[in-house]
Structures are given as C-alpha cells and as structure tokens.
Symmetry: D2
Subunit: 279 residues, 4 copies
C-alpha cells in the first residue's frame, strides 16, 4: 500500500520570527519513504535536529511577510489495520525500562494527580492487559462528544473529563492520563491517517492524534477518538502530550493563511506519476 | 567549604511496592563528594539508571512492611554565593540549542498558554537579560505569600498566580512559567541548601526547590522563594517542573513514617570525624 | 509479506556471569511484530533498557551451567526490495544534524584517519550523492574476497583493505570507513535478512551486517557484501561499528553450544499456525 | 581558588570549510564560570548543540582565509587535589547502569579485544577497587616514556603498549583500555589543568588528557601521565577516547597558524581586573 502525504502551510509574520517545526515524518518511518520533496522559499536556511523524544525538528527564522511551506511524500505501508493483541499483558512497574517510566508521570495536559482516584474507580477492577486499555478507550470514546467547534488549546484531560466535549487531542489526553494513573506508560502520537482521502478531522493546526500504550514490552497503538482499527498511520511525532509535539511553534506573532493536509492512498501508477513529476 | 547532607526516610507499605527514587546527588556534583554512605536494608536490590534529564535514578521493590532509607555525604563547595551576572544577555530563540528549547514549552505545573498574556503585560517592557529574570523573581517573591500549611501537590503556576499563596515549589513554578512565556528557557531544580543547619522550609516530602534560566548561553541559578543569593546549593535533580523530579515515586500505597533532612556546613575536623566513623 | 525470525542460543558458563544482549528487534520495527515469544529459563530475571544508540538491551546474570535462549517472531514487511534513490544528494557537512555528525568519526573498526587519503584517491573524483556511495560498495564488493574461514573478530577496516579477505562485517566496516572519510555519515546495522530460508552467511555469533549512509537527509540502506537489492531486512541494532552491537556480550568465560538463526518468509496460513501453536 | 583559562587559535582555510568545535567548558562546570568572553570574527554564525556524550558543540562554516578564535574565562574551583578514595569498590557488572556499560566496549584507540589477555595477566590478581585502577596507572606511567616528538594521531592503546612511547593521550588510552578489559567502565577526558601557569605538555592541537573510572557508583579522576594528584582540572569534554573529543574537527583542508592555551591560577584581585577589562 502506498500513501501520499503532505501539507501546504501559509503563514504571515509582521517581523522576522523564529519557528520550530515538527512536521517531518518520524525517524522510524524514514525508511518507508520512497519519494519526498519540500518546496520552501529557496533562501530560507533550515537547521535540522532531534528533540528530546527523538522527533526530527526543523528550525528557521521566518522573514517578515508571507511564508509558504509545502511538502509531499509517498510512503510504503503494510496496509494492515492496527493490531489487536488481545493477550498482551501489562508490564509490572518493576520491569519497565527507564524510558517507559518517563511516560508514567503527569504532563501539561494529563493531570495524573487529579485523575488517579477516578481511574482506579472506573478501571481498577478490570483485568490488567490489552483489555483494560481497550476499556479505557471505550469509556473515553463514549464519554466525550466530538465537537470541532469546541476545540480549545488549553483544555486538559481533567477538563475534558468534566466538560465531556473535545477534539481528537482531548480523547488522546484523557485516555493517556487514565493509563498512566493505572501505571501503564502511554505516549501521545500525531501523524497522518492514510486510509481516507482527507483527515477525518481536518482542523487547522491540528494533526490527527492518537496514543500508544506500553504493554507486552512494546508500544501498542490505540485511538480513543475513532475507537476502530485504522490503516496507514504515518507517525510524525511522539511526546508526553500535545505540548511536546506542536506542528509549528512560532516565537512571535503570526497569522495562519493556509492549512491544507494531504493523506490519501494512491495506486502504484499514480505514485509513479507523482515521483516523475517532481524529478 | 564542606557541607554535610543526607536524609532518613521511613516508609511503610501494605504490600510489595515498586519505588522510583530521585534522591542521589546530581551527576554534575558527584566529583565534589568526598565521602558518602547509604544505610539501606541489606537485602534490597537497587537498580541504578539515568532518567531523560540525566538525573540519577534508583529503583527497587519495597517489601511489605517498614522500609528505612538513610544517606549521608560530605560535599565540597566553593562557598561562594549565587552569582549575579548583571550583564548576562538573553539568547535569541534562533540561537538556542535544541536541549534548551525543551525548557520553553508548557509542562504539568507551568501552563505557559494560560500565562503568556500576563507575562508580556508584566515583563514585556523590561530590558531583556539578567535584569528581566530578576524582575520576575521580585514579582513572584512579593506576589505569593509563603504558607507551609497551604501546600497542595496539584497547585499549578497559574493557580499559584491566582491564589497568591504557596510553598517553594510554587514560587519556582510561577517564575519558570513567566520565563518560558518570554522565550527564556527555564528548568526546575531541587536539592539541598547547605548554608543553614536545617532547610529553611523543612517540609515532609519537599526538598527546597529553585530554578535555572538559560541566559548568556548557560544556566544561571535563581530563587524566587528566598530572592537573595544563597550559598551551598547541592543539586539533586533538574526537570521541567516538580512532576519530573519527585524524590520518591511510589507505585502503590504507602505511609510516610519519618522524613529527616540534613544539610549543614561542617568544619574540616568534623568532616573527618564523620568519614572515620563511617569507615 | 510475513517473515518468521528467531534464534536458539545455547551457552554454558563455569560460574554465574553477567550478560548484555542486543537481540531484540529494533524499536523502529516493533510496530510490525504481529506475534513474538521468548522461551527462556523461567527463573532468570531480565532487565530491559536502551543503549546510547536507542537499541533495546536485555541484561541478566546467567547462572553457572547451561543457559538456553530462544525467540520466535512473525514480522510484517513491505516486501519491497532496498530502494535505489539514484538522485539522492549528499548533505553538506554544515547542514548535517548533530546526531548524524556522530557517525562521521573514527571508531573501533573504522580507522578514518588511516583510510582518508585512500578514500579521496579512489572516490574523490566521483560525483557526490547516491552514486558515490554505490561506487564505494562496488569497490569493496570486488576488493574483498568473502571467506568465512578467515573471520577474525579483531580485523579492522584498514586491515580488511590490506588483507582483502573477510566476512560480512568486514565489507560493512570498510564501506562505512570510506563513507566517513568523504564526510558521508554511515552507521553499522545488523539484523535478519528475510528473503531466504536461512542466512546466506550462517556464522556462529554473527548476524548479517550491512550499513546505512545518511544522504538526502535520511538513512539509506547499502550492503557491500551482497551488493544487490535484498528484501525483508529486519533491523536488530545500529551503532558505529560491530563493537557497539555485539549480539551477546559475556562478562566472563562461556562456551557457545548452540547457535541457530531462523529467518524465512512465511505464507499467512503458516504464520497463523505459528501464532496459534504459541498461544 | 580562581583559574583563568582560554585559548587563541589561528587557522587558515583555502576555501569555506565546516568546523565542529569541542572547546567549551563542560556543562557540569558552567555554573563555576564567573566570567567569560569570546572574541570571534563578528560575522561568523555559530550553531550550538550537544553531542551524544553531553559535550557542548559549536559548529560554523569558516570562510576562506584566516580565522581567529579566542576565549577567556575565570572559573571557580575548590582548590582541592584529586581525591584518593582508597576504599572505593568496583561495581559488579550486573549493577552497572546502562550509561556506564557504554564505556566498557572497544573504541577507536582502545582495542579491548587485543589487550584483554594482557590486562588479566598484569592486573587480574590485584584486589578489585580503587587500588587496582591505581595499579594500572602505575604500570602505564612506568611503561610508556613521554616523548612529545613521538606524538602520532593514529597511535592506539595497543600500539602504545608495544611502542612504549607516547604523549598524554596515549597514557590515557592504554589505562582506559586496561580498565575496560577488567570490566571497569572508563572514559577519556580532556580539559585545562589549572595548577600551573601553562600546560605541562603544551602541544599544538592537544589539550591535556586524563581519564575517569566508574568505581563506587561514580566517576573518579585518574591521570596515568602525571600519576600524582593535581589541582584545578577544568573539564572540556568526555568521550570514549580521543576520537570523540577532538577540539577542532575541520571538514576540509586547513593550516594551524597559532595555538596558545591559557590555564593559570589567579588571585581575586587579578580576576577582577580581567573581568572589568572585558566589560
């Protein structure tokens, strides 16, 4: 299966402004990229690096005026849906590696301290393992009403639990927080979802977000927003929550003029066209 | 100058419980340790590691019943007070290294999104540099009333700003959040304060906390709680905020039975006694 | 495409001996694992972690006597051969991220200092980019004669260049060293090769080894040993050279009694059998 | 005690050339810097970062022609000599943290595979602990004859063992390799030595080098070259060996025109003069 992904982002700045971008495909998917191209202003100097979580960063100073950032790639994918490892066991805390421990604590949008009593009341009686994380997803999926109009960048997991409304990141935050309360490491993921022509939730400044729980000594994908197995997730970045993986962080004022996401399955023939047109 | 530091911590567990400890002196001070000893139960197996921030972790499974953790060390220190680099300049965001960028974002107790407008209103007009961070400390020092009785583990910087009461961690969180809002990287620090016989704020489960701001291409110490230059800070751990550097994280129920901190300057003769007694 | 991988390793120790294992599939492939199982002695306590390069480590203390380590997994793979990005450009040193810079220097088996003049003489005139790395592979492939009997764990790239004999790791080391001499970051990779029933070079204590060069802002797979596009590479570990990624490091004496590698494509029906048999 | 450190480096380049510099004081000493200043060409853009070992890197593109890099700092130091922890115990391999394990393996200039039999023959019978590392230093100190004329950038520990001649880095490499052979983690350190007016071994392109061994759960300083306790070591960089911590790495041709190191104790009054002159 081949997936065509990309973006066109138009920004406008009153004065020269530093930017940090987390838009690149995650290092773990780089080897699946069979073609990619960026179409940025030619005179912009971009500095590449890795953040603390291994995400690939790009930094630049946007000049005053308009800035256009465009990207297209074709990525190979197994085409298989999210796995459903019903026998996966939780890992006892004593056996967790240190890097998983990092994803047990509280973070900006996941107040584990506030939610711990609720988590144990709701899920403490459920048999540990895959089924318990799935129960968390079922609960969150039914508890929060998706409402794109109600998006708010300061909404935390605890607020989402109380307000019962939100967008994909709120579903993820609440499920992540519940997992951590139960001593299951969980990380926030954003990226492209390639099994549909456009993102289901085409929100300016908002990729689709899901999460991974560390069970069975590996990170398993869960999606409390859609709560069904999906195909073609192309990870861009992982972190403790949305605060760690903003697509664009602007250190100064800016206006968003255009935000267009591409994420579609393509036939091999069409992929060849895309590649040859770019060459 | 020689500083005698240590702790006696008594805990009780209803059943075997995994623990993560961030009690060791920071790796950056290890070379100043001229003597140290731990007095733990002999049959406890401790696994050492580093967390994502370079802090030295110890992990163990506490058996059911009572657990006593004790530690004493003698540490060399320059004896000089916190520096006051009045000419230190802020680093433009474009020149910040990636590892400092990590300390610009929001975190569990530092809601930069909520506090940005307030920060710019209060401090936006002040000349960038050391003086602006000092102005933040002055404001926080006067804005929050220290009240040990009012300690609350879920209080965030924004809550502290509104409630105007708190303990040392709240002073640190609010000052850190303001710095980050102004694009000055800031990290949370806890550790021993060695210029007094006992900690000024002898709080169970609470080290003294201060912060560091990244100015002039280095991390400079600030302390909004005391707001005067102190001597003999022995760093234990650094992180984004208190959520990253809890002294003891217990993954299960426990009771705290004893909590005693030692942090005192000692004369060379007394240090020799301490060392020889332990040998 | 589904690939069945695994190992059976039998070791014998005269006394209790610490081991470090780098046998787990790389974190970047974990999400492709649709089933896996380990069959170790039940009373062995294994501590998991990450090494400096992000490889997944397991550590244990082998008791005196015989130790058997077995593992089987079924892994999804795109089934596509190694890509041939003929237009991929080298990245100017000034634009390399710091983490790629790490793979420009000398290492245990890659003496860039000794080989730099030779590298520039052989490849300095070739147009930078994919073609130059391919020219290195062609040269190394023809220059070294594969001879499994001539394996030697202390042979370096410079020695392989002079002796003109070696096994897969020697091909990789020499090609890596040449790349680095030309300022192209290159890392050593070992893992399973899934397009054949058994490894082409079934060497005790020796996975198949290949390398990746950082061109076009990504890591591209090359294999100077086989020098043809292969299918189904399942990465286990990456490092600067073989010294970083030994499958088994024993801190004491041991004897290798059994060493059996499985790496074979399986039909979906057979994969189902393997899974259900294990459940 | 106050130490005045710095350098003046003059380079000449036939064409624009990327440079990687490891000249900054180590992050662990930054808090002791009471004043510092750089005097570089004003139009050079410098990018700061951290390498894999936590050393502070600077990268730049030197323009064609002459480049002058100058630096001065005043650093606080305890003034105490290297410690002599005669009771420090070795840490069993099973209890070593993963980050110390990294410093057990072979590296470019430390061929542990070649030297293991020799190491066990020479030091295997000695009681583990501080005394064994000291015995290694004594042996290396007496085995190698210091000869500045015989410096060679490709000399490894095994070559130094056989040739019995070398400079400070060779002493460090051989002692490090022996430690690792005995399962004692050891890292290479370079930096300023502040207890003398000029470096004892004032070598162009060569800082003084020593090493640290991980015993007693901490890194302890050893110096096989001088083999006496020294005062005022100001660490610049740590790594596996000299290949990781070159002061200047030039990715292209260059000529060294000037190389001047400052490392001297200064009285407080003189330090004040230095600071005020720079302000």
């Amino acid at each position: 299966m081949l997936i065509h992904v990309g973006y066109d982002i138009g920004l406008e700045f009153p004065s020269a402004t530093p930017l940090m971008l987390l838009l690149d495909l995650h290092a773990g998917r780089r080897r699946d990229v069979i073609f990619e191209d960026e179409f940025n202003a030619p005179d912009i100097s971009i500095e590449r690096g890795l953040d603390l979580y291994g995400n690939r960063t790009k930094r630049l100073v946007a000049p005053a005026g308009a800035l256009k950032l465009s990207y297209r790639a074709v990525v190979r994918d197994s085409g298989l849906p999210d796995e459903v490892p019903v026998n996966a066991r939780e890992v006892p805390v004593a056996d967790l590696p240190n890097y998983a421990m990092h994803f047990l604590g509280g973070s900006r949008y996941c107040e584990t301290d506030e939610l711990t009593p609720i988590a144990w009341q709701l899920f403490g009686h459920i048999k540990p393992g895959y089924g318990r994380v799935k129960a968390i997803c079922d609960f969150v999926h039914n508890h929060i009403r998706f409402d794109y109009q109600a998006a708010r960048s300061t909404r935390t997991a605890f607020a989402a639990y109380n307000e019962r409304t939100g967008v994909c990141r709120d579903f993820a935050h609440l499920a992540i927080a519940f997992c951590r309360c139960l001593n299951i490491p969980a990380c926030y993921v954003n990226g492209y979802l390639g099994d549909i022509g456009v993102l289901a939730d085409p929100a300016p400044m908002d990729f689709s977000a899901w999460f991974e729980a560390y069970i069975d000594h590996r990170w398993v994908t869960f999606d409390a927003r859609h709560n069904v197995a999906r195909t073609g997730r192309i990870v861009v970045a992982r972190g403790r929550d949305a605060a760690d993986v903003a697509m664009i962080t602007s250190f100064g004022q800016h206006q968003l003029k255009e935000f267009n996401i591409v994420a579609e399955e393509v036939a091999p023939k069409r992929a060849e066209e895309l590649v040859s047109r770019a060459a």
